[in-house]
């Protein structure tokens, strides 16, 4: 019995459990739900949960563990002689696995029956041909011993599969019966269900932690490689970024970090005031009709692919800023500049600030506004001094979202700000950001194992740590400011 079928069975058992639990609870009090501790539905849910969840977890664990255990027992079968020079035990195991899976496929597609397959095992060459025909890639001819190992692998897997079905069903039925037996008028079914929901919620929030761990792990390994090829000192302390194709590059992170901060800062300088004012206008002043149209319309700005913004920056905003600001002010004549990218990115970020802020401002109770109007405050005074502070925690969230998006953006920076890494205060100079360089270093033509490529991982990791620091700082500031209101 395979996992999909088991899942279906479990789902059915769950539905059945719900009905049975509910019915039993009601019958215990002769249909009068008032005699129960919890609503009848909760009794149904407990039975369903106990029937499904432990069994499901067992299934999951089994599916994860079985290959590992089988692998271990089979690995023990492989003799040192089976391992060709330049190869390794793991590689041979990969072969075993591939062969076994190929055998499985041969049987599944009906190309061979078990008997024919067993007959093929002593004839590795024939076996290889059959497997190749089935689309299984094999690097080398099959050693007879490997074929046997593969057969054993299959057998153990099949055994495991059977045991799994049995035990999962046993657990499910036990859970079902036990929880059904537990149903009694005084049984705190709601608490059980809620505790379960609580655990689900905790699990959901720990996905964030897991993602973080995952990101760190996926970056650390290659970053470590990078620091073996390139001195960490230079990476963190050098003020030049000038990678060369053939090696001998300067890979200092500061120009990139500076560019990131500068571009994001300008973008927020555009997006935050405009977004907030738009949010305020939409939630406080606009007619419902305007609001109903304008809000989703502005949200479309967030959905326009950034390449469109990039081209807009490159073809329109860049030359405009160069001809009307940079040149007259003697600030250089680069058409791609921090300013260009920042302004255009700011436009893209408007809905991130405006839409959520609008919702939050809308959620401020009317009684607060009334209190202020009643004192003779104008609407703008009310908004600035009463509504805005009350909505501040949520607005901070909105700005945070915009800032995050600014740091992660690539296309607008590439086309708007250029690719030159530079430490400069002049906003009309071309600069670039960490994110842009991560993408370009990772997708270039140089060899992967060179510092020029691996630096992408170190950049990612550094940016990660850097933004972590910024976030801690931001949280601290917000906390401090918020305390006086809560």
């Amino acid at each position: 019995m395979n996992a999909g079928l088991l899942l279906l069975l479990l789902a059915g058992l769950g539905a059945l459990g719900f009905l049975a639990g509910r019915a039993r609870a009601l019958s215990l009090v002769r249909g009068d739900a008032r005699g129960l501790h919890s609503l009848p539905g909760y009794y149904g849910q407990t039975v369903a949960l106990f029937a499904v969840v432990p069994a499901f977890l067992l299934l999951l664990g089994w599916l994860l563990l079985q290959p590992v255990l089988v692998e271990r027992s089979i690995t023990a079968m492989i003799l040192p002689a089976d391992i060709a020079s330049g190869s390794s035990r793991e590689l041979v195991m990969a072969d075993v696995r591939r062969i076994a899976e190929g055998m499985e496929r041969l049987v599944a597609t009906g190309a061979l029956n078990e008997g024919e397959l067993a007959a093929l095992v002593p004839q590795p060459d024939l076996l290889k041909d059959r497997l190749s025909a089935a689309g299984v890639a094999l690097a080398a001819p099959i050693q007879p011993h490997i074929a046997e190992a593969a057969t054993a692998w299959r057998a153990e897997m099949a055994l495991g599969q059977g045991l799994m079905a049995l035990s999962v069903l046993a657990v499910a039925v036990t859970g079902f019966l036990w929880s059904l037996w537990r149903v009694a008028p005084g049984f705190r079914a709601r608490n059980v269900v809620e505790r379960f929901i609580r655990w689900m919620l905790i699990a959901a929030s720990s996905i964030a932690i897991l993602t973080t761990i995952g990101i760190i792990f996926s970056l650390v390994f290659e970053s470590w490689h990078f620091f073996q090829l390139y001195p960490a000192r230079d990476f963190f302390l050098s003020l030049t970024w000038s990678p060369k194709f053939g090696g001998g590059s300067d890979l200092g992170i500061w120009p990139l970090l500076w560019g990131t901060l500068y571009v994001s800062f300008i973008a927020l300088l555009v997006a935050v005031p405009v977004g907030l004012m738009a949010a305020i206008y939409l939630s406080e002043y606009a007619t419902p009709a305007l609001r109903a149209v304008a809000k989703p319309a502005i949200e479309v700005l967030a959905g326009i692919p950034s390449i469109v913004y990039g081209l807009f920056a490159l073809m329109t905003v860049g030359p405009f800023l160069r001809d009307w600001f940079a040149r007259p002010m003697g600030l250089g004549d680069s058409s791609s500049s921090v300013m260009t990218a920042g302004v255009v990115m700011g436009i893209m970020l408007i809905p991130y600030v405006s839409s959520l802020s609008d919702d939050i401002i809308n959620a401020v109770p009317q009684s607060l506004r009334d209190g202020s109007y009643g004192l003779g405050a104008t609407q703008s005074e009310t908004i600035r001094q009463v509504v805005f502070p009350a909505a501040l925690p949520g607005i901070v969230g909105a700005i945070l979202m915009a800032a995050s998006r600014a740091i992660g953006e690539t296309m607008i920076v590439v086309l708007g700000a250029g690719a030159a890494a530079r430490l400069d205060l002049n906003p009309f100079e071309a600069m670039t950001t960490v994110t842009v360089k991560i993408v370009s270093q990772l997708t270039g033509d140089t060899e992967f194992a060179s510092p020029e490529t691996l630096v992408a991982f170190a950049l990612g990791l550094t940016l990660f740590v850097f933004t972590l620091g910024l976030n801690i700082l931001a949280l601290g500031i917000v906390r401090k400011y918020r305390e006086q209101y809560e």
Binding site: P365, Q366, S367, L368, R369, D370, G371, S372, Y373, G374, L375, G376, A377, T378, Q379, E381, Q385, V386, P389, A390, Q484, Y485, E486
Partner: protein, 264 residues
């Protein structure tokens, strides 16, 4: 206490606010029906009547707070100092600066106690400096009988006060802007007798210069503080006149029934 002091007072007879044929609809709900009232200057007017009869609604018409309720529709004419306050040229903000309000449900701002009170004076520019502002805050809190309880925690949030304290904070907030007319919607509902007496004293004091309109459910309070009383019932203004007259000699049977506790 001094329950029946009204006889000793002279009632000025100039009308501060005149309302004629005021009707209010909330959607299809006809909440206020054809109300005519003159609110006299330098007088305390009490609105009484069973819960839901339209007292708050009428109060909110007087400083156009009903503008903020989308479903509310106000018709009729309300004049203040001879000027139609629903004239489109009238700036409701200026109106509300002159006609202050204490709401039925205390609604302190999520700010510090100090900022709650200082808010009005700040936006109206009533204080020339920090010291003067401090002075206004202190005076207002004292008038609202809250100073002693909060003087050590002026920077604590106003929302962390007890119900009665919040109510007094809202009174202090309204008083701080020195309005010409003060509308008070059940200002003493959450107050103990002593605090109530203090607020009543405040009202009496304010009367020397301003009009005060107070909504109350306590006949005793109405009798104590007001010179004129209006009785509302089911959206109608049933009777309006000298407080002494209303309480001792009502003309409408409904008024009498309400005062003696027979209709609600």
């Amino acid at each position: 206490m001094n329950d029946m002091r009204l006889t000793e007072r002279a009632v000025t007879q100039t009308a501060k606010i005149t309302a004629r044929g005021v009707q209010v609809h909330y959607g299809t709900n006809h909440a206020l029906k054809d109300v005519d009232v003159d609110i006299l200057d330098k007088t305390v007017t009490a609105f009484i009547g069973p819960s839901g009869c339209g007292k708050s609604t009428f109060l909110r018409c007087l400083n156009r707070m009903n503008d903020t309720v989308a479903s509310a529709r106000v018709t009729g004419k309300i004049e203040m100092d001879g000027q139609d306050i629903y004239d489109p040229r009238v700036d409701p903000v200026q109106l509300r600066a002159k006609v202050g309000m204490v709401f039925q449900k205390p609604n302190p701002f999520p700010k510090s106690i100090y900022d709650n009170v200082a808010y009005g004076p700040k936006i109206h520019g009533l204080a020339r400096g920090k010291a003067e502002l401090d002075q206004i805050v202190e005076t207002s809190l004292k008038k609202a009988a809250l100073w002693n309880e909060v003087k050590d925690r002026l920077s604590a949030p106003g929302t962390g006060l007890s119900g009665g304290q919040q109510q007094r904070l809202c009174i202090a907030r309204a008083v701080a802007t020195s309005p010409e007319v003060l509308l008070m919607d059940e200002p003493c509902s959450a107050l103990d007798p002593i605090a109530t007496a203090q607020v009543e004293e405040l009202i009496d004091e304010l009367r020397a210069q301003f009009s005060v309109v107070i909504v109350t459910h306590s006949m005793q309070q109405a009798a104590r503080v007001s010179q004129r009383t209006a009785f509302f019932h089911l959206g109608h203004l049933v009777e309006y006149g000298e407080t002494g007259h209303i309480f001792t000699n009502p003309t409408d049977p409904r008024t009498e029934a309400y005062i003696t506790g027979r209709i609600g």
